[in-house]
């Protein structure tokens, strides 16, 4: 079977997305291990689910191109949309609880656990309520979940805009804002593709935006490492 250039591009972008997401999972796990703040747990878990979501989409695309087994493809796509939305929800939970429950470890753990369970049940419930006949309903509900993802990412963006406007050092949080805005653009572009038949450009654009978002997070970590090593050198010199 001969692959179309667009299929090759989409597959390459999705595989790159999986690779970057793996790096982000390790990075956020390290962050969580260092700080030991339970409210940060949403980040490694959330990015793990985003990584799984990209993996399921890659598998779905491979299956569509090479085998095209409908039921299996639908199941993969179903897993993809569910893991993606729960992943974003977990990342948002870190932002929601960041300021409120910082030192109340047990409470915040329970809140995150209860929140994730409710979200998961709600997502499952939504899918089955809309079309209980089969998993193929995922293609129509995908757009609804993309809209939910947009709402979740909007929360983080508003949170960061408020934070940036309150701070004197604007450049500090702006890179985080750009990273989440890229993820937002990715979801928006996907919605445009799904609802308004935005064409292949919108679909590829959504994947590129997501990839850019992931890459910006890695860049932020690199900049943070650079900043702390400069501080360490200055301190050593002073001593």
């Amino acid at each position: 079977m001969e692959l179309q250039p667009l299929q090759v591009l989409i597959l390459a972008l999705e595989f790159s997305s999986v690779a970057l997401a793996v790096a982000l999972v390790f990075l956020f796990s390290k962050i969580y291990k260092t700080k030991r703040s339970i409210f940060l747990l949403g980040l490694p878990l959330g990015f793990f689910l985003l990584m799984s979501s990209s993996f399921f989409l890659s598998a779905h695309l491979v299956d569509l191109i090479f085998r095209s087994v409908d039921a299996f493809s639908s199941s993969l796509m179903w897993l993809r949309v569910i893991t993606q939305t729960i992943g974003f929800a977990l990342i948002v939970s870190s932002y929601v609880f960041a300021g409120r429950y910082q030192n109340k470890v047990k409470q915040s753990y329970l809140v995150i656990l209860a929140g994730s369970t409710v979200l998961m049940l709600a997502a499952f419930g939504l899918l089955f309520a809309i079309n209980p006949t089969g998993l193929s309903s995922v293609y129509s509900t995908n757009k609804i979940l993309a809209a939910i993802n947009l709402a979740l990412l909007s929360y983080i963006i508003i949170f960061l805009i408020r934070k940036v406007s309150l701070k004197n050092r604007v450049s500090d949080s702006i890179s985080g804002l750009v990273a989440f805005f890229s993820l937002w653009i990715g979801q928006f572009s996907f919605l445009v593709w799904g609802l308004a038949n935005g064409g292949d450009a919108a679909l590829v654009g959504s994947q590129i935006a997501r990839l850019v978002g992931f890459a910006i997070f890695l860049r932020i970590y690199y900049l943070a490492s650079k900043e702390s090593s400069i501080n360490a050198i200055e301190q050593t010199k002073q001593s």
């Binding site: 390290k30 962050i31 260092t34 700080k35 030991r36 703040s37 940060l40 870190s94 932002y95 960041a98 300021g99 910082q102 030192n103 949170f159 960061l160 934070k163 940036v164 500090d172 949080s173 890179s175 985080g176 804002l177 990273a179 997070f217 932020i220 970590y221 900049l223 943070a224 490492s225 900043e227 702390s228 090593s229 501080n231 360490a232 301190q235 050593t236 002073q238 001593s239």
Partner: protein
């Protein structure tokens, strides 16, 4: 408005940072000065110090306290984490 309580990691960061500022890189830091500047009761500071010594992050010398490479790496890792969290808007 109530002040935010320092987490355990924040306290460890402050202690390691102050050890460096007080000359622990050359083995001359005074434990009394570090405890006072870290705003910690001396007995609590001693417990933290013993823990650091147990983990080979700090050593006692004739002139005071010395921070080891492991201690410096730990401080560097906490700083990097804090800088990253600040940049993604999760510093509290």
């Amino acid at each position: 408005m109530p002040l935010n309580k320092r987490s355990k990691v924040d306290i460890y960061h402050d202690v390691l940072d102050l050890l460096c500022q007080e000359g622990a890189i050359t083995g001359k830091a005074s434990s009394t000065r570090v405890a006072r500047r870290a705003n910690l009761p001396y007995d609590r500071f001693q417990k933290i110090l013993e823990r650091f010594i147990g983990l080979d992050m700090v050593r006692r010398t004739d002139e005071g306290l010395l921070i080891t490479e492991k201690g410096l790496n730990c401080l560097y890792q906490i700083r990097r984490t804090n800088a990253f969290l600040r940049r993604i808007g999760l510093d509290t």
